[in-house]
Every structure is written in C-alpha cells, then in structure tokens.
Subunit: 167 residues, 2 copies
DNA sequence: TTGGCTCCCACGTAATCCCATGTTAGCCCA
DNA sequence: TGGGCTAACATGGGATTACGTGGGAGCCAA
C-alpha cells in the first residue's frame, strides 16, 4: 500500500530516488511502470508488476477491437515506461513523460493506495488545494457512509473494533 | 508483454532495428510476423510465434469454409510477412507493407499487450490524439468497472491488495 | 559474371550496474 | 531525558556491458 508523500529530485544523470517506503510497497520487485494519468491530471501514475498485471487482466476482459479496449490499451500500455530500479532504488524517467506533466527537476511522489502518483511540486499544490476543498463538501464526507456500512456488513476489519460491544 | 513506444528508422539497406524490450518480449525467438491491422487503422500489427499460434487456434475454431474464416485467414495469414531478425535484432519489412501504412523512413513501434503495432510517426500522432480524446469520454473509463470487478471476483492479482481489508 | 541479398563482424555511443561516501534518523544505553 | 552509536538511505562517480548502427564478405540467383 502506497501511503504519504515524498519529494525527490533528478540528479546530474537524470536519475530519481524512489522513496524507500514505496520501494517496500513494491514488494521487493525492482520493476516500475509509469504512464500519464488517465483522467488528464497533470501527473504520472505508477506502480509495480502487480498493478500492471491488474490492468492487463482488466483490459483483457474487454471485447477485442472495441473502442474502449483500444483506447485504454494505448493510454496505459503504449504510453507506459517500463523502468528498472538500480540497487539504491533509483529510476530514470523518460524525458517525454516528465515533459508531459511539467517536471523539470523536483517532483513529488504521492501515495494512492494501490498505485502512486508523481507530480511537479507546483501542480501538486494546486491539486491538493482542490481536493482539500472537495473534502469539506458535505456530499463527499457523507459518501463514506455507504461503503463503511458495507465494510461492517462484510465482517469488519480484523483487529479493529468497528461495532460497539464487539470487543 | 509489449509495453511503451520506441522510434526507429530504416537504414541504407532497408533494415529496421526492433527495440530491445520488444525483442525480449518475443521470448528469445527471432521470428516476427507482420500484417496490416484488421480494423483498417493505418498501422501494421505484429508479434512472435506465440501470437500467431493464438490467431491460428482462434481461426481454427471457426466453421471451415465459412465466410468469416476465409476472410480472417486471408486478412492475417495471407497478408502476413514471416520475418527473421538478424543477430543485432533487425528486420527487413517488405516494401508493400510499408507502403500500405505510409511509412517512408521513420516508424514508431507501439506496445499493445500481446502484440505490437508499427505506425508512421504522423499517423501515430493522429491516432494517439484520437485515443486520448476517447479516454476522456466517461463511457470509456466506466467500461473499466465491469472487468475490474471480474478481476477481483476471479481472485484478484497475487501480491496486490484490491479489496480493502485484505492486507 | 553481375547484381542483390543475407549473414557476420566491428565500432561508437549510451545506458546500466556497481561501489563508495556523506548524512540522517532511529535505537540503545547511560 | 540526553547523548552516542549504528544502520539505512539518498547521492555521486567510475567502469562495464548492452545496444544501435554501419560496413564488408560470402552466397544464391539471374
């Protein structure tokens, strides 16, 4: 699980250190996939082999030759960079990917559950402000209610007391 | 798995370097099949022996002498070029295939999961813009939902926590 | 015999691998 | 609670390997 945010910078050879907590979230693998976010956000989405396997399986279930499948295949598989970390955990992000999200030297690694994102510090500041405003919207907070009930109905989370009287 | 895009050019002898990552995706084989894309896109579709075997098996399941079988057999098997890479990993693409997709010297190798495509840079730029527009269509993104659920229902992806509470 | 094709070898560039160092944060002990 | 120690992490640099590219020799066909 990718959690928290970390800032990193590109060195003279074009390498970037992947934050150590993200490396352990990759489960020991040294392969990283990166592609421009599907929703048009000014960020890169990334993950390890497991995440790519998930997308691969999901896309493979779409009808061959369908518009949806072709669009998603191109957006993810064709645009993705297949990168390998060196021993200390650095990657070299292709210039075109960096340019597509306006990164010159510094960047922010943002944990997003099963994947992570890479932003330019400026773009992330804007995005963070937008999302902070969204969370203050009552509709967003109340959206938690239904899936929370579903979690309880599914048996809750081991080790966590969700319903009074259960402990 | 064919991922990412690479540009290559034809040398004075009509040879083209197959990108190294694609060569390893071919699994060590030096045989490459190429044919014009079935959907009429201005590109060539290609892959190794495994991809051809998949098409062969699929077509073989169609009724013999059926119109569909004959059409697909012609579109793939008859039009395909059966090419062999030299030691450094180059192929010589027949002139008629190049002409059919408007390639003169430069071309783009585009990864598409189990196969790859070859485009002229200009045609690919147009296609990429089309697909980028398609991805911003809510229908395309929402098309991910059903196969995503199916992936989870099928047991998810080993090593990846898809359902909250699984880790 | 000649043209063209294929196979093979050689070179320069660029990426990757590996080692070394400074720094920071966590940990233990006083 | 404070100080010192240790280990992990981020960063820099050098050497090796792989890759892409060009050219030449041998072989087959015309």
């Amino acid at each position: 699980m990718f959690v928290s945010t970390y800032e990193s910078a590109i060195d003279a050879k074009g390498r970037v250190s992947v934050p150590a907590p993200f490396r352990s979230a990759l489960g020991g693998g040294s392969r990283i996939f990166l592609w421009p976010a599907l929703d048009g956000s000014q960020c890169l989405e990334g993950g390890g082999e497991e995440l790519m396997a998930m997308y691969r399986q999901t896309i493979s279930r779409l009808p061959p030759q369908s518009r949806q499948r072709k669009a998603l295949t191109l957006a993810i598989m064709s645009r993705a960079a297949d990168l390998k970390m060196d021993d200390p955990g650095r990657i070299k992000i292709p210039e075109e990917l960096l340019a597509s999200v306006g990164i010159t030297d510094k960047m922010v690694f943002v944990g997003a559950l099963e994947s992570f994102q890479i932003w330019s510090p400026e773009a992330y500041a804007t995005y963070e402000a937008d999302m902070a405003a969204a969370v203050s919207d009552p509709d967003v907070i109340s959206a938690l209610a239904a899936p929370y009930d579903a979690t309880i109905a599914a048996g809750g989370v081991p080790g966590l007391t969700l319903v009074p009287g259960d402990d």
